[in-house]
Symmetry: C2
DNA sequence: CTGAAAGCGCTAACAA
DNA sequence: TTGTTAGCGCTTTCAG
């Protein structure tokens, strides 16, 4: 039954049939025990009910399954005792852990390191701690947002981002601000209380005040969900003309951004590609634990829809079609 | 370290500290091997990137974790070889399996039965095969949709549902049709090619024809996602007045249904409650494998928003506040 | 109460 | 090629 064993195909088939008839199946627990390792991979994710994360985890799970690995899900939302939970699953001698949580609480990766379990991070800080990493080109992301807005004639830039920023939000946000300032514009910064739709909506009162005061005519929202909330709060509930009075750009390109009622212009990151790269990195490390750590950076694509006025060539933020780079 | 052991709290603390310092942690593989069972629970789900399922799985995972169980995720979308996958995870001597897939391919539950692993089904057919089950009151669901529409003055009823129906869609759909006919109305039935937003949108051409022909003035969509697609295709893209010309009711009450741009009237099923009940049933069976199979039925709530005109008391489809019944 | 030993199901190594 | 054996880390049992 062991994978790499050489048996004549005929015998193999016969054995498999017999096993099936007998209802026998290898005991993965025993196999793992003796082999010092299971084929379980931890997937730690936060806010799983968010469209972005849901797609990410789905893809991750699917690819893992295809590689013969089984995804052990760890929801890492605030309020859970992550330290304890990670210890729990580490007890299964995981083959690896993939982290996509917002708050990768260094605890997690430290615990994994101490247990000798390889970690792959998605959209987290640079791998100071010795992990493989998949990330996007944060600089290009912020720039893309800026260009989409400025290409539409925006002069007074606004930025809406959660007060409590994550690595990836901070990155895109900073790059955006840098671009604006480089172009000689100041940017008006508003803080939301999270990155959900509700948070976006809640920010609209403040937003409207700035609009009527003539202080912004273009807004970059750190997250599509946030942008959608803003659209609902501003366009639908308050009758603000978008993109007439205010142009809006989001980030991620979740499915809902493309729904007609929103038609949100946004900066797309390819979730499926990233997830694929993450499991690929995990498998590679499994095959060769000593290989140098690798980080794969993905490019971003401008997606022009109905909330901006510029359509400068529908170009990508990135030359290559797939938008993947390595270093 | 064993859970039910009696040790003086002082000793326990000391041991735990020492273990921590040494980086020791019980090997769950070994423990499972000797105990004949892991504390892994399989969660088989399809279309994980759908808002409904994402929330369901998130809640499931969370509650499982709280019970000290670890969720092993199995994405069961079409195209995967479910038979093989389920065998794979069964190799881990699961403590149980929770199925929320659309297509619980009897294979899955048969395989579990043969392996002696208890199964809990959510929104699947009655447990002919000996499983615990969580479901909703299908009859009440269809009725609620009918009442919401008829309460708004609808006379010519339409129904949009996937051609290929699942257990739960069939149930609500049938009940809806039965109510219409009982009230002396015929219902115009349209088939979509799935239950996604895109499917709903794709159905709009046909829908518009029926509207202009004066054949429907109220539509029940088997799924919120479908309804949202219809709203986009009809209201936004074709300028149909909703609820003026057509009233629409969805089913599920996913988050997006409440977004201002849609404000979809719908029939709510409480995903979190259902998920909670599912893990509760699983734990109970674990504690007592011999107990009789149980099925918990949940009620549904009418949610009146902007796509209907009747607001008949905002009442629930169900007496009790929680809407839970047992039998 | 503490200590020793058996055995869970598997695979790798070694012997025949 | 086929058959035996040791040992993975744990818990339960039995002896001291």
């Amino acid at each position: 039954m062991t994978k790499g064993k050489r048996v004549s195909p005929e015998v193999r088939a016969r054995v498999l049939d017999a096993a099936d008839a007998l209802g026998y199946r290898v005991n993965a627990l025993a196999r793992g025990l003796q082999g010092q390792q299971s084929n379980l991979v931890g997937v730690v994710a936060s806010r799983l009910d968010t469209p972005f994360r849901a797609l990410q985890v789905r893809t991750l799970a699917q690819k893992l399954l295809r590689e013969g690995m089984n995804p052990l899900l760890l929801v890492a939302d605030a309020g859970e005792d992550i330290r304890a939970l990670i210890q729990n699953i580490l007890a299964y001698r995981l083959a690896g852990v993939i982290v996509t949580s917002d708050t990768p609480s260094p605890d997690v990766i430290e615990a994994c390191n101490r247990a000798g379990v390889p970690v792959v991070m998605i959209n987290r800080g640079p791998a100071a701690t010795g992990t493989d990493t998949v990330c996007m080109d944060l600089g290009a992301g912020g720039r893309a947002a800026f260009e989409m807005l400025s290409g539409g004639g925006v002069r007074r830039f606004g930025l809406l981002a959660p007060a409590q920023e994550t690595y990836s939000v901070t990155g895109r946000t900073r790059a955006f601000v840098a671009c604006c300032e480089e172009a000689g514009h100041t940017v008006l910064r508003l803080a939301s209380d999270g990155q959900s739709h509700a948070s976006g909506k809640a920010a609209c009162a403040a937003l409207q005040a700035e609009i009527t005061a003539g202080r912004i005519d273009g807004l970059f929202c750190a997250t599509d969900l946030l942008a959608l909330g803003v659209l609902d709060g501003l366009r639908h509930d308050r009758g603000v003309d978008i993109p007439g009075t205010l142009q809006v750009v989001g980030f991620d390109d979740i499915e809902q951004a493309s729904w007609s009622a929103y038609a949100l212009s946004t900066v797309r990151q390819d979730i499926a590609d990233q997830a694929g790269a993450a499991v690929e990195l995990a498998m590679k490390r499994l095959a060769d634990p000593e290989r140098p750590f690798e980080t794969r950076t993905f490019g971003l694509h401008k997606v022009f829809r109905g909330t901006t006025r510029g359509h400068a060539g529908q170009s990508n933020a990135q030359k290559g079609p797939s938008g993947e780079q390595r270093r």
